[in-house]
């Protein structure tokens, strides 16, 4: 019992203590250079425009100051990142070097043996090829393209399409880490759903995250054409362990007229990670984007999926949960631009903070002058599990249109002792009672996830809740 109670804290500590062996790493003192970027591009055998894009992004990156708002990022280990993005670097450490707590966590989350080494970052190959290929095959029969974005770039047909869209929603000028992403991005998914095609099972990136370096600077590009329908699931609940402590991925989603895209994510980065991920969707007339987002793990997180509603009557909904434990400062939320008449958006978030963790909800709703007749509602509920944790709500609204209906509500609360007593009076232990209440609080998010992911998320909460007492 005593061991369990300290488990979460232990994961944290040992992550900081964890060191890969020196061999296999070149020590680079200089920052990112054009040469490194050229090397990355060459290695990937990319078209010339992509190299140009990378170099331009690098230039922008080197000029960008660090953000002056949000959680501090002083702990970012940029030297390691340079090491990481450099091709030919052999990432392989051995399973023996992975901290026991991480191994235990895999066990407790029920991650299959074969996947653990991949998730721990010590085995680049996890044998999911079969699942991936089956999924890809079924999708292909419907005319859907589902592949790695680097592979897609090698096909002239898809290359043209990628070139037209790539980093147009998230330009390198957007922020420092978008620029970094533009320079060093590697891996990620490409999905193309043609007009009118509706896929009735979700595509899951989990099964193709086996490229070396994937999941660090990955780029996801999804195009859902008019009248088409897709559910895409990114990530998994196991803590992903990486040698470099920065994650700066980018997700660009294009939703056509009357099309529908649901984008679900559960992220659980190891607790040394700076998660500076950028996600954006653009919706045409009557198109709909649904974000389902679970943010766990990482040391610092900035994450605000954004919907740009450019078509009349297009819609966005965001359902998210953030869990900030000891040593974590997670700044999450959602941004919406109501950029056409009669658009609508809903943002519903839950945040949990515990053990001194800081959870900040930040949202931005912008109604442009074109947004007449639009509506948006923002709701944020925070739960603080002790006196040392912190929860903030920073909603911003910029309304420049007439006849719009925008609402915001926020509540911050604690678990009432009366609730704990009630549950305990029916024979439920204190820890179980707290976990039950927190899982109930998270339920609006988990019920939107496919069953196996919902179960994983509940397990994850259970794991995070251990040691919440005493």
């Amino acid at each position: 019992m005593a061991k369990q109670r300290t488990e979460v804290a232990d994961i944290d500590r040992s992550l900081y203590d964890f060191r890969y062996g020196e061999e296999g790493f070149e020590r680079l003192d200089a920052g990112l250079t054009p040469d490194i970027v050229r090397e990355i591009s060459e290695r990937k055998n990319e078209p010339a425009w992509m190299l140009k894009h990378r170099l331009k992004s690098l230039e922008i990156y080197n000029k960008f100051p660090d953000p002056t708002w949000g959680p501090g990022i002083e702990g970012l280990d940029m030297d390691h990142i340079v090491t990481y993005v450099k091709p030919n670097t052999d990432q392989q450490a051995t399973w023996d070097e992975v901290p026991d707590d991480i191994k235990n966590t895999f066990e407790r989350l029920g991650i299959p043996e074969a996947e653990r080494s991949y998730l721990a970052g010590v085995g680049a190959q996890y044998d999911s090829e079969l699942v991936y290929h089956n999924m890809q095959g079924t999708a292909a029969q419907m005319g859907i393209v589902y592949s790695g974005i680097e592979e897609a770039l090698q096909e002239p047909k898809w290359e043209a399409m990628i070139r037209e869209k790539f980093m147009t929603l998230i330009p390198p000028t957007d922020h420092k880490f978008a620029a970094l992403h533009g320079a060093v991005w590697s891996g990620g998914s490409f999905v193309y759903v043609p007009k009118g095609v509706k896929l009735d099972f979700p595509l899951q990136s989990y099964f193709r995250l086996n490229a070396k370096g994937a999941g660090q600077f990955e780029h996801t590009l999804i195009i859902v054409e008019d009248d088409a329908d897709l559910h895409f699931i990114e990530g998994c609940s196991a803590p992903k362990y990486n040698v470099a402590n920065l994650h700066a991925g980018a997700v660009e989603l294009f939703v056509g007229k009357r099309a529908h895209l649901r984008y679900s994510t559960i992220e659980n980065w190891s607790k040394n990670m700076y998660n500076l991920n950028t996600k954006r969707a653009r919706c045409e007339e009557e198109g709909e984007i649904e974000w389902i987002s679970g943010s766990f793990g990482s040391h610092v997180g900035y994450l605000y999926p954004m919907s740009v509603l450019v078509g009349r009557k297009s819609r966005s909904s965001f359902t998210g949960i953030t869990f900030a434990g000891a040593g974590q400062n997670l700044d999450t939320g959602c941004k919406v631009v109501l950029g056409a008449p009669e658009t609508s958006a809903s943002v519903e978030t839950k945040s949990i903070s515990k053990g001194g963790g800081i959870s900040t909800f930040r949202s931005s709703i912008v109604a442009t002058p074109a947004a007449e007749g639009s509506a948006a509602s923002v709701s944020c509920q925070s739960l603080m599990l002790d006196d040392i944790s912190r929860s903030d709500t920073i909603p911003a609204m910029d309304i420049r249109a007439k006849n719009v209906d925008i609402g915001h509500e926020a509540t911050i609360g604690r678990i009432g002792d009366d609730k704990i007593f009630y549950l305990m009076s029916r024979g439920i232990s204190e820890e179980e009672a707290r976990t039950m209440i927190v899982n109930g609080f998270a339920n609006p998010v988990s019920k939107e996830l496919p069953l196996e992911y919902a179960v994983e998320m509940n397990n994850l909460i259970k794991l995070e809740m251990e040691g919440a007492i005493g």
Binding site: G416, D417, D418, K419, F421, Y422, L423, M424, S425, R426, G427, I428, S429, E430, E432, A433, M436, I437, N439, G440, F441, A442, N443, P444
Partner: protein, 268 residues
């Protein structure tokens, strides 16, 4: 009452925020007996139920609680439940996002003789729901959320019947106000009585809930003290006369004690 009582509260003094609510309470309940704890508003009746169940809001300053041969004064609430104690709440809480069925399953998990497989559990709950005239659709609803007073009572009674405790304390202080709730509680008590030989402690200030019930002992509580103990004949008497006389006596006794205290102060 010859054998050791199932529940024995001895000289129990309890407080909240430094304010003493219960003053030296003694209460013995034997297996299979039905006791009634009565008294005016604010007498400390609900506190009594909560302290016996181990509500951490209250501090036990003195005295002991023994249940089924075990001193439970320091035992955590969940363990008291697992030892066979039950407290139904006057106002059960709401837990958003937790379906009633999950809550019920968590209660019986790991209880010898009560843990059931999915199918068996559903059948059992269906039976009990029928007995209480409760819609089975409740099971998928979030615990307590949007439930009416009567519905909440049904859920409490359902748990009483599912857990079959050795002793159940039913805090029905305000149930008398709602005819529906009253009916639900009566039905629940009947079913509990039929199904088990467990004991009941009914907390109320309204005697209507006690009709059709064979009561063994009645305890009257005023200002945190038990001021009177008698058999069931006390119920119609209270029905006719209320608690006024008990309150007057208590006030006089307190006044007397104060006067005595004053006197002893003066002699010092």
């Amino acid at each position: 009452m010859s054998q050791t009582p199932l529940l024995s509260v001895s000289n129990l003094t309890a407080s909240v925020d430094e304010k003493t609510i219960l003053h030296g309470i003694d209460l013995n309940v034997a297996a299979g007996e039905t006791h009634v704890l009565m008294g005016p508003n604010g007498a400390g009746k609900s506190t009594m139920g909560h302290v016996i169940m181990g509500d951490p809001v209250y501090t036990v300053n003195e005295g002991t609680i023994t249940f089924d041969g075990q001193d439970i004064t320091e035992l955590s609430t969940d363990k008291r439940s697992r030892a066979g104690l039950f407290l139904s709440f006057q106002a059960p809480v709401e837990i958003p996002g937790v379906p009633l069925s999950s809550f019920l399953r968590a209660q019986i998990a790991g209880r010898p003789g009560l843990e059931m497989k999915g199918k068996e559990f559903r059948r059992r709950v269906k039976e009990l729901a029928a007995e209480l005239d409760m819609d089975i659709a409740y099971l998928n609803r979030e615990l307590g959320v949007g439930f009416s007073g009567g519905e909440k009572k049904k859920v409490e009674m359902l748990q009483l019947l599912l857990l079959q405790p050795k002793l159940a304390i039913l805090d029905e202080t305000d149930s008398g106000l709602d005819v529906d709730a009253l009916g639900v509680v009566s039905r629940g008590m009947d079913a509990y009585r039929k199904a088990t030989d467990g004991s009941l402690v009914i907390i109320t200030h309204n005697t209507r809930i006690l009709e059709h019930l064979k009561v063994d002992r009645v305890h009257v509580m005023v200002n945190g003290r038990i001021v009177r103990e008698d058999d069931a004949s006390l119920i119609p008497w209270i029905d006719a006369n209320g608690f006024d006389s008990f309150e007057r006596e208590a006030a006089q006794a307190a006044g007397g004690a104060e006067a005595a205290a004053q006197a002893s102060d003066e002699t010092r």
